[in-house]
Symmetry: D2
Subunit: 341 residues, 4 copies
């Protein structure tokens, strides 16, 4: 931690800051410049990180020198984590050169429909099946998901097609139930800072798909991953899915630079979801290919066989045949940047 004092900070103020640092068992190293005094704090930064340093009179700024996410940081774990989703013969690996192709409908609507979609995406190369049983809808009047019935359908369809499954948890009281039925648990963008839910999901020890919140910085995303890891699951796959931006032509703004940032700062895999990032099928392919070339560890795409009938997010779904074409291109591009299939 580096503490920059205000221009005109008094001797007493400087002494008081030093005193507080030493009271935390740390050392203060003063550097008096022409205009400012700067204090370098020597010792375990964790001890001082959550202290309200900026509230001490005379302090202008406190600049941390270590990331606040220890377990998620690459500094602590230089080796890239490979997350394994599923078990037995239906394991899909993500990270460390392995590429995840997650696809499926927004919501699970019926066994027949999911079966048909799963068959087609499997044939196109998808290796994880997604589908929502509990839906976080912005309107209380919209379809909220099939619940446990949906979980059963997802499990059965996944097994039939040899696809590991992922579904979203939105209520801490349902996490155990979801963990019984599915191979990977999704934490949605709106719940990225629902720390109660993060903790419950982490406790299951299951692989987690954590989506970036719409107002979250990349560092915020990594802090939320830290919660999950600290609760018990190191198997976290991060997902860039667009954040709020100043141009609302798309539903969100895909922050493609987040891929490289995460890979520099963390050992966790990062995938991209162009479906939620854009909300526009005509733009999804371009963004999906961009993500593959950026070095992302996977792509998450919503697919539906009759979008105009879909009970949730129909307008952003690709048709199975569109997905087939795109998936083939994604593999070609990902191969150029070193992914294996």
């Amino acid at each position: 931690m580096i503490i920059i004092l205000k221009n005109g900070a008094t001797e007493e103020q400087v002494a008081h800051v030093v005193e507080r640092i030493e009271a935390m068992g740390l050392q203060a190293h003063l550097s008096k410049g022409t205009y400012r005094t700067v204090i370098g704090v020597i010792g375990d930064e964790e001890k001082i990180r959550s202290a309200p340093l900026m509230a001490i009179p005379g302090v202008e700024e406190a600049v941390p020198v270590l990331p606040a996410f220890k377990l998620a940081s690459r500094e602590a774990h230089p080796q890239s984590t490979i997350v394994e989703v599923g078990s037995g013969k239906t394991i899909t690996k993500i990270g460390g050169g392995h590429f995840g192709m997650i696809a499926g409908p927004c919501a699970i609507e019926s066994a027949e429909r999911l079966d048909e979609i799963a068959g087609s995406i499997k044939a196109s190369g998808a290796n994880i099946l997604r589908g929502g049983a509990y839906k976080p809808r912005t309107s209380p009047y919209a379809f909220q998901g099939l619940g446990e019935e949906g979980l059963k359908i997802l499990r059965d369809v996944g097994r039939k097609h040899g696809l590991p499954t992922v579904t979203e948890a939105i209520d801490p009281r349902h996490v155990e139930l979801i963990a019984e039925y599915t191979d990977m648990i999704q934490l949605g963008a709106r719940n990225m800072q629902n720390f109660v839910l993060l903790t419950e999901v982490g406790k299951t020890g299951k692989p987690v798909l954590m989506k970036r919140g719409m107002a979250a910085t990349v560092k915020d995303l990594l802090m939320s991953a830290e919660y999950v890891i600290a609760s018990g699951s190191m198997q976290v796959v991060l997902c860039e899915r667009g954040i709020k931006g100043i141009d609302n032509a798309c539903r969100n703004m895909l922050d493609i630079a987040a891929v490289a940032q995460v890979q520099l700062m963390s050992h966790l895999p990062i995938i991209v979801d162009p479906s939620h990032a854009t909300g526009r099928p005509e733009i999804i392919p371009s963004c999906a290919l961009a993500a593959a070339a950026s070095g992302a560890d996977g792509i998450h795409i919503e697919v539906h066989n009759c979008p105009e009938d879909a009970m949730s997010d129909g307008p952003q779904a690709l048709l199975p045949e569109q997905y087939a074409t795109l998936a083939a291109q994604i593999r070609k591009v990902a191969a150029v940047v070193g992914k294996t299939f």
Copy 2:
């Protein structure tokens, strides 16, 4: 709902859109322009709102003409709602000319400290006491609150000073407990779209303080209020507390225009929290006075008697004496725009 078709939409596509509209029990009214065909949908817009219209081939845009938040809208309830917090002799009204002065520390740390702070803010004119017992911290290693012990302290200190109380709920499993101890339940910014929590809090029928999410539009905020109302509590006070912006000089960007927008679109009261909006004590007074002049129905400010010792958010807290000065000015400004005290 107005449906704008793409340039070059075929007769078949137009017919198909009309068919789907009529299948929902609505009427379609065609208007063929020089370049585009436009379809006006006549009938109950609710029936069509969540239909995936944009997924129908040939559709370019679907423009709703009614707000999606019915219960929260001023169209449905022209009279401003007055929310009553507390009971018996310690009732504070917010809305319809009544001004809420919510103050207190970020977290409840001890009975002694809260008692001292409560005494001072009451003397300065505060009429609701805030304090967190469950804290949604971005780091898993930071202080997470005193839990039920904190709730007891808050209730007792509130009673002693004749101040109704508000505290945040972050876990649906704690909502009932919180409802027993406190007069108003806060839904925090990070949980504004935690629909599970919104529903649980709404069910208590208690007054609710709903903070705007950091990526939420004003319409998103009103949709979340709709959830709470639909679940059982009409007593919702909205709170503008800054959203993410392109200048990070302050913690968030206070969207002062949200006050007038809410008052045009909704009957619910709206207050402003300059503490979280700016995170900088030297800027809070200017923004608090701005909020009072804007016509807001109240101000929410964090106050601590020793910020450099605070267990949460110390750097943004005002000292009790700073709050006293500011509260006096707020009342003067609010009086100019017609508030009564």
Copy 3:
């Protein structure tokens, strides 16, 4: 300047950084922490500010400790600047407790119309008349202004009503001409970083009204003011007029916290333009009053006597009678925070 080195920076890298600092005639002060080495640079920060420090191998971050805007900073000039607009008997002061009430139409359309508007706003308390003769329109097919003919009308109408005038410059080749006709020159939001224009306008020595760019931070705004001051005019009034945000319900997002920020960092006056910030007449009054209470040094409002006929920005103009009501309220609120009229 404080230079933070990367974790694992080598001895050679540290030595090379020190060497470069000393080559610029500055001293380096090393502080080795547990995880990072930090170098405090002692001496005139100006010498090092534009050096590409981040390009030196091993450097993680370079944190300046002094603002880059010297002439505009309050550190250099603690006394608030009072800008005087006009001459002789028609001088309007802005800053240091003096409040500017700038009003008028977006574009100058005819002598009759401007005369009528000027008469009404003068009666309502406006003390500077605005009107555009050269309009920066986003469409090449929209009305571009009357040019010199408009300047003449503005000058004559201003004189008749005893109102100093302000008009926008958009072309460096017209600056001299504009300076002959008007009392204050406006630099528009789209030209805030048109450094060629800033320099030409600064050279005239005239009072300048500098609007904040839509993507500019407060510091960017002060850097642009630095350009004008360095070119020859210290008489700069800054204007917050909304920036791009994530909610597009209003034309822009009014950053009310910018007022306090500017007043802390700079000696220059800062006014607020709620017309461009919101673009919605029904929201302008709330935001104008907020600005007055925030401590702003003035308010800029567009007024038109027949908005539906206006040749530019009609939809955001207030009617003269709406301005009259608002101006009276603005004065009351501004008086509470110490302004004199």
Copy 4:
């Protein structure tokens, strides 16, 4: 244009709107819904586009159905434009499957340095040389460029290496001079809405490289292209280079979805500049490859042979050897999506 009236709009208000539409030589087509009346305007939308419809009492919203950029729109010109930069044997094509590789230093510093950089990037596959002779610097105290001397160096070095050249214009008074020396004129992000400059540059008829402003939507960018085309040059290459966002970990936020948006809405080529978009060399390669895969028509990258010595933007420059590696990968990825070299 579709005009949506307010709930409760009176018969007189409806009649007045119709009257104004007909006065512009257009037809009004009424559609009365359950809650709202909607008016479809039939005829040439251009006539009504800049009319202040929203200022007419009773109007809630005016929704245009045609893009405001006619000349730049794909509706008007379905065929993709191929821009040719240079002459004789040194022509580089951009668009329609042809891929532009623009590279070079931020500023032209000396003939020797530019010669060395040009030689290396040419060998790596670059086909246009960039370099700034007039620099728009945010600080008045920073290096402002070599001016005409720089233009001469650029021309000579370009000729020597068989590379067409591009340089930025920032002053309308220099445009003619720049047009004599260079093959393509750049309009920088800060000047994207400097309409005076746009017009002057368009008049030269030269190929133009137009960078997206930091607060500009994709539609704003296309409106600015419309200015250039309307002034005389159809040869416009657009450039996505990052906009302001809510995460400031990078200098700007690369909006990769802009590529597909432009290609849907316009016939003009669009390239990507990851150097300015990120400002971080360690992130540039990932974003450059993403851009190539997205279908962009070219990539613009800053290259310098000694970044720590650079007179402008050193910290974001790639070294010649880094560019060589990246350029080879870019070509492979671009080939997958159908570009020819």
